[in-house]
């Protein structure tokens, strides 16, 4: 197979978009001090409504709007339960996922495409003509641009506006924010609503663009991966971009490996990963004087595994059963969680707020 790196990198951007959208919504929610574990449920609800409305009306915009609304409405259940009935956020979020999975399966019964919907590409004039970078970055559909725009917007509102300051204050210390007279519950409800809308959009991107079809469980854990990426990003918008594209890279790599059948692509990827691990170890041991293997466990693990893989390849290993490759995105998510410890979490995250306490 010919590997076209430009197409590959362009595909990474598309593959990352749903996770990115869901994660930026959840980032806002978590910054307001609420842990909504129902992302997967809101996403899949968005996916089914986006698919049905999009294909029922023949309008992609209608589909995306309906999906965002569906996700946001579902999130209101979570908001009502956690903010007004003071339920445990972890359990309620899980409940939202279970409920969303059931609801989407119920709504999606026999959902088939009546009008085929294509989301048109919008090449950005001039910029998309730049060789290599143009096709990778500037020749996508509107939702890809929207996802990046949202990152910038969230960053701006959160760190450069009064509203963002209040949101962060509520997330860091809800009692103090309450004492200052900020409407804690209202702020949090707004954040939850926004997060639900983003998750709904993310789901619709899967069912309208990435997979273009509807099947039960189509989101396949993307909502959970979005949650992991928020942790990876240390609740910072621009680091989210790195995390989501890393994940998208693994997904695209895995899909290409399945289609390819040879291991050339995996050889390159593992070679690069091993080199990166070695560089990280080296720089750490120079700058921080931390050269001991235990201090660089992730690098050591990656290097050892790469050596094992290299030996297997030298011994004549030709293929990996393709089924096993679909584990890669999930394993990569675990590796990322292990490698980068969470810090900087909003102090009130997951705590129930009640004015009397």
């Amino acid at each position: 197979m010919d590997i076209n790196p430009i197409l590959l990198l362009a595909a990474v951007m598309v593959a990352s978009t749903p996770v990115l959208l869901a994660a930026i919504g959840e980032l806002v929610v978590e910054r307001s001090g609420v842990l909504n574990l129902g992302v997967e449920g809101m996403m899949i609800t968005g996916a089914v409504f986006g698919y049905i409305i999009g294909h029922g009306s023949g309008s992609a915009i209608g589909g995306f709007a309906a999906a965002a609304l569906a996700g946001a409405c579902l999130s209101l259940i979570f908001g009502f339960l956690t903010q007004f009935l003071l339920t445990n956020q972890t359990a309620t979020g899980l409940g939202l996922t279970l409920f969303g999975l059931g609801l989407s399966s119920l709504v999606g019964q026999g959902a088939t495409a009546t009008y085929p919907v294509t989301v048109p590409r919008l090449p950005i004039p001039l910029l998309s003509d730049i060789p290599a970078i143009g096709p990778i970055l500037f020749n996508h559909d509107a939702v890809v641009y929207l996802s990046i725009l949202l990152i910038v917007l969230v960053w701006f509102v959160m760190f450069r506006s009064r509203a963002g300051l209040i949101l962060r204050a509520v997330g860091e210390n809800h009692d103090a924010a309450h004492a200052l007279g900020y409407p804690v519950r209202l702020v949090r409800m707004a954040a939850i609503f926004f997060g639900g809308g983003c998750a709904g959009l993310a789901g619709a991107y899967i069912s309208l663009v990435r997979v273009p079809q509807w099947t039960d469980g189509i989101t396949a854990g993307a909502g959970w991966i979005a949650l992991a990426i928020v942790v990876f990003a240390s609740w910072k918008p621009f680091r989210l971009l790195i995390g989501a594209y890393l994940f998208g890279g693994v997904t695209v790599l895995q899909l290409n490996l399945q289609a390819d059948g040879t291991l050339a692509l995996l050889d390159i990827a593992i070679g690069l990963l091993a080199a990166a691990a070695a560089v990280v170890w080296l720089t750490r041991s120079i700058t921080k004087k931390a050269a001991a293997p235990m201090d660089n466990l992730l690098s050591v693990i990656i290097l050892v595994l790469s050596v094992v893989y290299g030996l297997l390849r030298l011994a004549g290993m030709q293929t990996i059963p393709i089924e096993y490759l679909s584990m890669l995105p999930y394993l990569a998510t675990i590796a990322v969680l292990v490698g980068l410890r969470a810090s900087n979490a909003p102090a009130s995250l997951g705590k129930t707020f009640h004015a009397s306490t």
Binding site: L81, L98, F99, G102, L106, G221, P321, Y330, L331, V338
Partner: protein, 361 residues
């Protein structure tokens, strides 16, 4: 205006009444849902809650309810320990699948053997260890690297699902299966079969194990130091750390325990009702068990009753599919609503409803 006032102590009355109110609320919400789907709401509720127990074909449905309840109770009992201590094992589904894979793997390794006293116990041990090890991964990562156990255990569910699908068409495929995916049928392999112990009752070894687990959990929770530690860690993490409780130990033990029990449930399921390793191996017990644990108020006896009720909604859901053409997914929505109701009604246990404005203090 309506407002909530914190009770000095949780209300004893509402502790017991809340689950009942939640069930009633869910039934009302469910009736609204079924009516909106154009089905007869009363008929559907009757099909779910009455027909399997007392209807014309209850002799067939009752054993099925018991078979469904056993894994739910086993898994939920294990989860309850962790939930009480604030350790969120959400990956019970993965631990359950790994238990089934390991148990079935050992049983299949001995395939033509006839010594039941060797194969069946070995399969059970292997399955329990398989589930426990799968639960140990998020525990160790949490202790060593402070990763979030919710996300790691969940990612491992997807990994386990890939593994079982891959094994069913590769490593463990039935050599006499004409190339179809799926392992040998273990329920037809006498040395490993987990059949009914008393004909027509639905009681298999998994049911016995579930009852034992509930009894042991009850004793541990009320009479044993570990149960006290768990409750202390859940109610007041600060007090727990002052009393010298090691939170890491608690994380490891609760995940080992819940993983092992989920694995155990997996073995009994794969050697009994399910019969084989297959990509469509009965799914969702691990997730439904979360609802069961909450509905049972994280208490072993409550979980026993909640598991039976949840199993009833499964079987009743099948009856309603036949009688009222109720879509299968409607029952999932119904179960989700049950979890929302139990969580929502719980507010009355810790808070009092008051009319009027907040007093100035």
């Amino acid at each position: 205006m309506l407002r909530l006032e914190k009770r000095p102590q949780p209300s004893t009355f509402w502790t017991y009444a809340a689950p009942l109110v939640a069930v009633v609320v869910t039934i009302l919400l469910g009736m609204a849902l079924f009516a909106s789907l154009g089905k007869d709401p009363v008929g559907a509720i009757r099909a779910i809650f009455y027909e399997p127990l007392f209807g014309e074909f209850s002799f067939y449905y009752r054993p099925e309810v018991i078979k469904k309840a056993a894994p739910l109770i086993l898994i939920a009992t294990g989860l309850a320990f962790g939930f009480r201590a604030g350790v969120w094992n959400i990956g019970a589904e993965g631990q359950y699948i790994m238990g089934a894979i390991c148990g079935a793997g050992v049983a299949l390794a001995f395939y033509p053997s006839e010594s039941r006293w060797l194969v069946f116990p070995l399969a059970i041990i292997a399955g329990t260890i398989g589930g426990a090890v799968w639960g140990l991964i998020p525990a160790l990562l949490k202790v060593k690297f402070k990763t979030n156990e919710i996300l790691v255990s969940l990612m491992l569910v997807y990994v386990a699902q890939v593994l079982i699908t891959a094994f069913s068409s590769g490593l463990m495929r039935n050599p006499e299966g004409h190339g179809f995916p799926g392992s040998r049928n273990l329920s037809q392999y006498p040395a490993a079969a987990n059949g009914e112990l008393f004909a027509g009752t639905g009681v298999h070894w998994g049911v016995i194990a579930a009852l034992i687990a509930v009894a042991v959990a009850y004793v541990i929770l009320t009479r044993h130091q570990f149960g006290f530690d768990v409750r202390l860690a859940g109610q007041s993490p600060k007090a727990a750390s002052f009393s010298g409780l090691n939170p890491n130990k608690l994380v490891i033990i609760s995940l080992l325990l819940s993983g092992g029990l989920a694995g155990l449930a997996g073995v009994f399921e794969v050697t009994g009702p399910a019969g084989q390793i297959l990509g469509s191996f009965p799914k969702f017990y691990g997730f439904t068990a979360i609802i069961v644990a909450y509905l049972g108020r994280l208490h072993p006896v409550g979980i026993l009753m909640a598991g039976a009720l949840m199993a009833l909604t499964y079987i009743g859901g099948e009856v309603a599919q036949d009688r009222e053409q109720l879509p299968a997914a409607a029952i999932m929505v119904f179960q989700g609503m049950l979890l929302f109701s139990i969580l929502g009604v719980d507010v009355l246990t810790n808070y009092r409803l008051r009319f009027g404005k907040n007093e100035v203090r």
